[in-house]
């Protein structure tokens, strides 16, 4: 039970990032490497602000806004300066490394003695001196649900339609008399906003910012998106956003299982095999459905 709860916590936190990666990778068809920089960016800005005494709940919004700006920068580099998609991500990722260090002041900022969204005076007043552990997952779940619902709603707006159209067929966006570049910038901004928000929640949950937390973030996000989407491909009643979040939980479950059973050295290999099994099983089911139909 505890095992599942901690997997859920981690999976849901990274699920917010997976939502962001889903926008760039699946909707915009843009391999956005800036994620490796914006995930710790969210964490860095959170750590710095919490140390300054900013209300932890406010940091959620600020981290999102800062990520939004960083994503817009990636978009501007790509659209306005005509830099290739991968390269604009790499440029942002590289630059953000230093920016993150500058914001946080150092490569490791612990928040053990600071207020977070999980442990603060307000919650202590509500729940007593020791805030119950189950509250963590509840808070995370609320944040994830808000992100998911808002994203779902956004995708149903006119602006959201345009965003979906630009990845689908950017010619039509031009035909609709809209600048496809601006739509891409918007998409990248929202995506990186979510990624930074995920970094913000992660920093508060693990109570530390560490510069190394961005390394491989995009890979985790991509794996979550692909696992989620292929697993739920034929279940049309499952929204893609839900699938992506579940994908993230699966990812963390694979890692947790590998850690639990594989010992110190084979973790990555076992994680990889688990992914492969999930993907093969889901591909197999797709085919069966087709045969039956």
């Amino acid at each position: 039970m505890d095992f599942l709860v901690s997997v859920l916590e981690q999976g849901l936190i990274y699920g917010i990032m997976a939502l962001g990666v889903y926008i760039t990778y699946k909707i915009l068809d843009f391999p956005d490497l800036s994620v490796d920089g914006t995930f710790p960016l969210g964490a860095a800005i959170t750590a710095a602000m919490i140390k300054m005494g900013v209300n932890p709940y406010l940091t959620l919004l600020i981290a999102f806004a800062v990520g939004l700006c960083a994503g817009a920068c990636t978009g501007l580099i790509h659209v306005k300066f005509k830099v290739r998609d991968l390269l604009s991500g790499i440029i942002m990722m590289t630059g953000l490394y230093t920016v993150n260090l500058y914001i946080a002041g150092t490569n490791n900022v612990p928040l053990f003695s600071s207020e977070t969204i999980f442990r603060n005076e307000m919650l202590k007043k509500m729940f007593g001196e020791t805030v119950p552990k189950w509250l963590d997952i509840v808070i995370i779940l609320i944040i994830v649900l808000i992100c998911k619902i808002l994203l779902d709603l956004y995708m149903k707006t006119q602006s959201g339609y345009l965003l979906r159209a630009v990845g689908d067929n950017d010619v039509i966006v031009t035909s609709l008399a809209k600048d496809k570049g601006n739509v891409k910038i918007l998409g990248l901004a929202i995506s990186n906003g979510l990624v930074a928000l995920s970094g913000c929640v992660f920093a508060q949950q693990s109570k530390v910012f560490d510069i190394s937390m961005g390394t491989g973030a995009l890979v985790i996000g991509l794996a979550s998106v692909i696992i989620g989407l292929s697993f739920f491909k034929k279940m049309s009643f499952v929204k893609t956003t839900t699938a992506v979040i579940v994908g993230s939980i699966f990812y963390k479950l694979c890692v947790a299982l590998a850690l639990k059973f594989a010992g110190a050295t084979a973790t990555k290999l076992i994680t990889a095999i688990l992914f492969l099994v999930i993907l093969i099983v889901s591909v197999d089911r797709k085919r069966k459905v087709k045969v039956n139909a």
Partner: protein
């Protein structure tokens, strides 16, 4: 259909791998002596790295010296986070869920993750290879623990190093240090050097870099201003140490190291930390906690009791420097060649 079979085969082989993986450990716990309690320790190592590996081995040895032996009355689970804080958090959660008797965390991010996960339980956390536990908020300013967490720091023996440099180079005035601005440990060590340098009649000339590509320029510039260089455990600089050594040798400027490996590859000498020894010290702390002789929440973190001197005679010969015989005798290890 074929694919499904393949998937099942893969899954089965994975299960087999898991079983063999656990099997060994299972045996060890069942082999424990009757009546005696078997302890379970979760070791969370942040990354695969020579010094950290030595730490881990030393830790297990230290426990053994205190009568806690793997396979007899001790079960050890080792996990490696592969340098990802997210994984480090999952490892720590996993250990807490498995209700291990003690978590040993190697390196700062793992230590913080372990402390965070175990914070509201009674599982003690013993860390090692955390350079600055105070900055990591694992200890208060007076070195007392912030919770049920204690351990050892791999802070450089700066004073011993300065003493050694003075002994070998009686006339030197300026010591140069290359460091990476993003590495908190390096920044901390520099502060220590600047604080203590005056006592030994040195001034410190530092040059900060942000990545490996800047080393060549920074080192060339720095070498024009100093009598010798000393090295920290800075990951970026250490990875490019051969470049620095090459430049320094051209000018005949001695470079001092901070650990055994650096002396092996061409630093003149080092007052360094023996990570195996550090691990052993940590293991003994852990044993005390497990046996109930002490509480992690009441133990201050410890620095290594004595630094170890390493000398490379070949380098001394090349530079035309004579290392005092007393030092040669004191040295834990003396190299007579340069391994590149």
């Amino acid at each position: 259909m074929k694919k499904r079979v393949l998937a099942v085969v893969l899954g089965m082989s994975m299960m087999a791998a898991m079983l063999t993986g656990c099997g060994g450990k299972g045996d060890s716990s069942s082999a424990s002596g009757s009546g005696e309690k078997t302890y379970t320790i979760g070791i969370s190592q942040f990354a695969e790295h020579g010094s950290l590996d030595n730490c881990r081995e030393g830790f297990i040895e230290g426990l053994k010296e205190e009568g806690l032996e793997e396979g007899k009355n001790l079960k050890i689970v080792v996990n490696n986070a592969d340098a990802d804080p997210g994984t480090a958090a999952q490892i720590a959660d996993g250990f807490v869920n498995d209700k291990v008797d003690l978590i040993c965390a190697i390196a700062t991010p793992s230590a913080q993750a372990a402390y965070n996960a175990a914070m509201e339980t009674d599982i003690p956390v013993i860390y090692t290879a955390v350079t600055n536990p105070i900055a990591a908020e694992l200890a208060n300013d007076d070195k007392s623990p912030v919770g049920n967490v204690s351990g050892t720091s791999d802070e450089l023996p700066v004073e011993a190093q300065l003493k050694m440099i003075r002994e070998i180079l009686p006339d030197a005035k300026t010591i140069g240090i290359l460091y990476t601005t993003s590495e908190a440990n390096s920044v901390y060590s520099i502060e220590q050097y600047e604080k203590l340098a005056e006592d030994y009649g040195f001034t410190i000339e530092k040059a900060g870099i942000t990545n490996t590509s800047e080393i060549q320029l920074a080192a060339t510039d720095l070498l024009g201003k100093v009598d010798c260089l000393t090295n920290l455990t800075d990951n970026t600089v250490v990875s490019a140490l051969p470049t620095v050594l090459g430049l320094a040798n051209e000018k005949g400027i001695p470079v001092f190291g901070s650990e055994i490996e650096q002396v092996r590859i061409g630093c003149l000498a080092a007052e360094g930390i023996e990570y195996t020894q550090l691990g052993k010290d940590t293991g003994k702390m852990a044993a005390k906690v497990l046996k109930g002789e002490a509480k992690a929440s009441e133990m201050n973190y410890e620095l290594i009791t004595e630094s170890s001197l390493y000398v490379n005679e070949k380098v001394a010969e090349n530079l035309g420097i004579t290392v005092p015989d007393t030092m040669k005798e004191r040295a834990v290890e003396t190299f007579t060649e340069i391994t590149e």
